[in-house]
Amino acid sequence: MSTIKIRSKRLADYTLVRTLIAHPMETGKRKDDDTGELIPAHFIQTVSFKHNDQLMSQCQMGPGIAKNPFFSYHIKSAQAGDIIRISWQDNLGYSDTAEHIIR
């Protein structure tokens, strides 16, 4: 099961691409309710957005972003059949990539 969900919608003058990433986004400052110990930081550092293998945007993120972050992109030049590739890397070295074809 991919951690990234992507959906797109072609509108009159642009294409709307929306994405939801399942990630805990721990800041490292929260304490465990039961043990009282700090929960180690675990957050996404970069999210990149590729349109037909061309890098369109790269977000540098910190622990200030919410759990399960949601992004939306507006692309002007998208055609049906174009491939969107979104990937993330986090501070613990985990990463994921998902592909989506615009209809």
């Binding site: 969900k5 929306r18 759990k67 399960n68």
Partner: protein, 283 residues
């Protein structure tokens, strides 16, 4: 002698008025439903009945717009996927959740809660899930949030669009009594703030409470479990009841306690015929 006769007459009058009063408390449930719907019909004349399933968004156009935008790509999708995996995963003994429910657990959420004649209590979908786990020698799940809300989300999703089908069996006095107690809970003032459910969600429905608009009670049970934007988690109906009781500073009845099941039974009976639209997103 004259005085005592007069006293007797007054007593008779008092007793008579008590009888009529108690008769009005135990009104016919169908009459209750009709009255509640007539009340809201008067309050929001433009609103068709099915729209009450949208809760407060039915009466707040601005909030509805942003809610519909959220529902296009809803945050509960992750929970829904997890719920499907959990639901289909077989137990250690080879059985699964599907075997505990009629129709393999698909499109049945609208039939809950119902009165179980054998157990002599109200069975909610959440309690049925935990009964299923107990029958299969598994530890029951914590009610409120987490795994149970994912399972409920999946089960509600498969039942989307079905009409709420809560009935009170005609031949069961105990079921009627449970309904009446649920109704009493709804109208009973409690807590330090001395509020009842009805004060906010019936008398003041559609008015502001600080920055929020109060939702009508009709439609309260249709959209659970819900992804709450204030906590960023899936939450169940009983968890919401508990939060309400906390807010009015009342004693908090635990999730799936008899009192809250009765309240759910009463509210679901009011919602009979409304479309089930859970899981959902709520502020």
């Amino acid at each position: 002698m004259m005085i005592s006769k007069r006293l007797q007459a007054t007593l008779v009058v008092i007793v008579c008025s008590f009888i009529t009063f108690s008769a009005s408390i135990y009104a016919d449930p169908f009459e209750d439903r009709q009255k509640m719907r007539a009340f809201y019909q008067h309050l929001f004349p433009q609103l068709p009945l099915a729209d009450y399933a949208a809760g407060v968004y039915a009466i707040d156009p601005d909030a509805k717009e942003s809610w519909l935008a959220i529902e296009e790509f809803p945050p509960y999708e992750l929970a829904l996927e997890e719920g499907e995996v959990l639901f289909k995963q077989p137990f250690a003994n080879g059985s699964s959740y599907a075997n505990c429910f009629p129709n393999q657990g698909i499109t049945i959420a609208q039939n809950y809660p119902y009165w179980d004649k054998k157990k002599q209590q109200i069975v909610t979908l959440a309690s049925a899930l935990n009964d299923c786990r107990l029958d299969n020698q598994l530890t029951p799940l914590a009610y409120g949030k987490g795994e149970i809300s994912y399972l409920l989300a999946y089960m509600a999703y498969t039942s989307r669009g079905q009409k709420i089908n809560t009935r009170i069996p005609k031949d069961s006095q105990a079921a009627l009594a449970a309904y009446q107690q649920g109704k009493a809970y709804f109208y009973q003032r409690r807590g330090q703030l001395n509020f009842s459910c009805a004060i906010c969600h019936l008398d003041n429905a559609g008015k502001f409470i600080r920055s929020e608009i109060l939702s009508p009670a009709l439609g309260h049970t249709t959209h659970w479990p819900a992804y709450r934007l204030n906590t960023g988690e899936m939450s169940t109906l009983h968890k919401r009841f508990m939060v309400c009781n906390t807010l009015i500073r009342a004693k908090v009845d635990p999730a799936q306690s008899t009192a809250l099941r009765q309240l759910e039974y009463y509210l679901s009976f009011m919602d009979y015929g409304l479309p089930l639209n859970g899981p959902s997103t709520r502020k």
